[in-house]
């Protein structure tokens, strides 16, 4: 049982305040954009972590859920004029259902076998969307310009509302992850991660709990997808369904610390600025430089601290006590 110390609450509050005032002080829209991406990838990392870090299902297909979320809300908005907020929930549910449908036949897959299946899943969904006329196929979908405001989940004059909405989403996903990690479900996920045999003899319905983990993860990831669509206002399979996005989500969680609530946030705060700044500074010549740096960091972390940067913090904390 983990008890939250006063120090942790205090640092949490300070981080919260800093994040809240950041865009008010720093008006640079690029910096704000990087922060928004950090929140978004942080959220996807947290969602991955529920499935991968806790329940031990290493998914390399998260981008499919992300894309399904983005496409569901956008399609509903364009075709049926459904409010994006409703689209957000529907997108989450669709992603959860698809996750369950693909997760069930994969119930006995563990470790790298599950990872391989998840890559295939992501690629199948992308190929499908690339050829699906109804939703624009390879041309993608352009969202209609609606009047600005919270109701329409669309803002044109400033990034600020997007900033706070995405931050709120990240906090929601962290809360969900925290509640899971301190409940029966969290312990059951960890038992399943260790071994299906040990879970079964403790009376845990492995198939069911794995599906629950997938569905929660899919729902949260799809929420980030809807956000992305509302933020960029244009989606196509090549921007919301590419394998590298899935890989980045996994890297973020692994680097930060899989299986800890805050791990993916730490991972995102390190990796997202690296990838965005190298992209901007080095332009096209720099393509892949972020991956080089990622690779280097991941090698370091897996050799010296398999529990991620968060694990490093925890160890330092213990030593100084």
């Amino acid at each position: 049982m983990r008890n939250i110390s006063l120090k942790q609450i205090l640092s949490g509050v300070i981080a919260f305040v800093l994040v809240m005032i950041f865009p008010l002080v720093i008006k640079n829209t690029f910096a704000q954009h990087v922060m928004i991406l950090f929140f978004m990838f942080g959220m996807m990392g947290v969602a991955w972590n529920i499935m991968g870090g806790y329940a031990g299902m290493f998914s390399f297909g998260q981008v499919a859920f992300f894309g399904i979320g983005a496409y569901t809300s956008s399609f509903l908005l364009i075709t049926y004029h459904v409010n994006p907020w409703i689209g957000l929930v529907v997108g989450g549910l669709v992603a959860a259902l698809v996750g369950a449908a693909i997760g069930y036949p994969c119930s006995n897959l563990r470790g790298h076998y599950f990872a391989i299946a998840s890559i295939a899943f992501g690629e199948i969904v992308r190929t499908h969307f690339n050829n699906w006329k109804l939703i624009g196929a390879a041309e993608g979908l352009s969202l209609p310009m609606l009047s600005e405001g919270f109701k329409n989940f669309m803002f044109h004059s400033s990034k600020l509302p997007y900033y706070y909405i995405m931050f709120a989403f990240l906090l929601i996903s962290l809360l969900v992850c925290y509640l899971i990690s301190t409940s029966k479900m969290g312990y059951y996920f960890r038992a399943i991660k260790e071994s299906h045999d040990v879970a079964k003899v403790l009376g845990i319905n492995v198939v069911w709990y794995r599906l629950v983990a997938i569905m929660i993860s899919a729902f949260l990831t799809a929420m980030a997808g809807t956000f992305y669509a509302q933020y960029v206002l244009y989606i196509d399979p090549e921007s919301v369904m590419l394998l590298p996005i899935s890989v980045q989500v996994v890297l973020i969680s692994m680097l930060g610390g899989a299986g800890s609530v805050m791990g993916p946030v730490i991972g995102a705060v390190i990796l997202i600025p690296i990838s965005e700044f190298t992209r901007v500074w080095l332009g096209h010549k720099g393509t892949g430089v972020d991956m080089l740096i990622y690779g280097f960091l991941i090698t370091l972390i897996s050799v010296y601290q398999p529990k991620g940067v968060w694990g490093l913090f925890m160890n330092l904390g213990k030593r100084t006590k």
């Binding site: 049982m1 312990y187 079964k200 003899v201 009376g203």
Partner: protein, 245 residues
């Protein structure tokens, strides 16, 4: 006084291709008994455990627990009904503390973490691991890991506990400790089936011994009778040894 039947195994057969790991095994266990299953390596003891606890579906035959058929139920359902087991190769959760390991087992009967923790502490006090409750599972010695595995099984509050070689590889002192624990478990009214190679323990704690060889049950009876039986000696030591006696 005739006691109620805890477990009834009738005609259980399990084959892997042409290899019959269990061939029409019949036996029953009364409530409150300690029954040992012995036999040379490859006799089918662990397979039998897997057939009873729902890890393998038997090819034919039936298993009844407290009068209810459990033959083709899922392992977790059988656990929920009150059958707990351990594995020949210790299965614990390495990156959880001892307390968390046991608590995860207790969560089968409790939803709240607090209640499960209390139950887990009770179990650890009973099994003698209370002092090590904050150790990580992976950091324990093999004897403590086995004890932890038994604690986890007990935390699911079983009526029947099946131990697969919980005493193998222990020192004499540790062995004594484990035997005492098994007796204490029986005193709580839990029925035990034990797969074991350590004959010293089998002889002392079992009410009844079942001997398997090459997938068949060759003998059943009180421990002292069983070990003197020529068929059993032959199974372990070969035909020549029996003749020379």
């Amino acid at each position: 006084m005739k006691k109620a039947l805890c477990l009834e195994v009738s005609g259980v057969t399990k084959h892997f291709g042409g290899l019959y790991a269990n061939d029409h095994i019949d036996f029953s266990v009364e409530e409150g008994e300690i029954v040992s299953i012995i036999g040379p390596n490859g006799a089918g003891k662990s397979t039998l455990f897997n057939c009873i606890s729902g890890f393998y579906p038997p090819n034919s035959g039936k298993v009844f627990f407290l009068g209810k058929e459990i033959t083709h139920r899922r392992a977790d359902t059988i656990c929920k009904m009150g059958v707990a087991r351990t594995f020949q190769v210790v299965q614990i959760i390495g990156d959880m503390t001892v307390l968390e390991n046991v608590m995860t087992g207790a969560l089968l009967r409790y939803t709240k973490i607090g209640h499960a923790t209390k139950k887990a502490e009770e179990v650890l006090a009973f099994t003698g691991l209370a002092e090590k409750k904050d150790f990580l599972g992976a950091a324990l010695t093999i004897a403590d890991k086995k004890r932890l595995e038994v604690s986890m099984a007990l935390a699911t509050q079983p009526r029947l506990l099946m131990l697969d070689e919980s005493m193998a590889g222990l020192t004499r002192v540790e062995l004594r400790g484990m035997m005492d624990l098994i007796r204490k478990i029986r005193e709580k009214g839990i029925t035990l089936i034990i797969v074991e190679h350590v004959m010293e323990a089998v002889m002392e704690i079992s009410d009844r011994v079942i001997v398997l060889n090459s997938g068949k049950k060759i003998m059943e009876g009180p421990p002292k009778e069983v070990v003197r039986h020529p068929d059993v000696i032959q199974a372990y030591l070969g035909e020549r040894y029996v003749v020379s006696q």
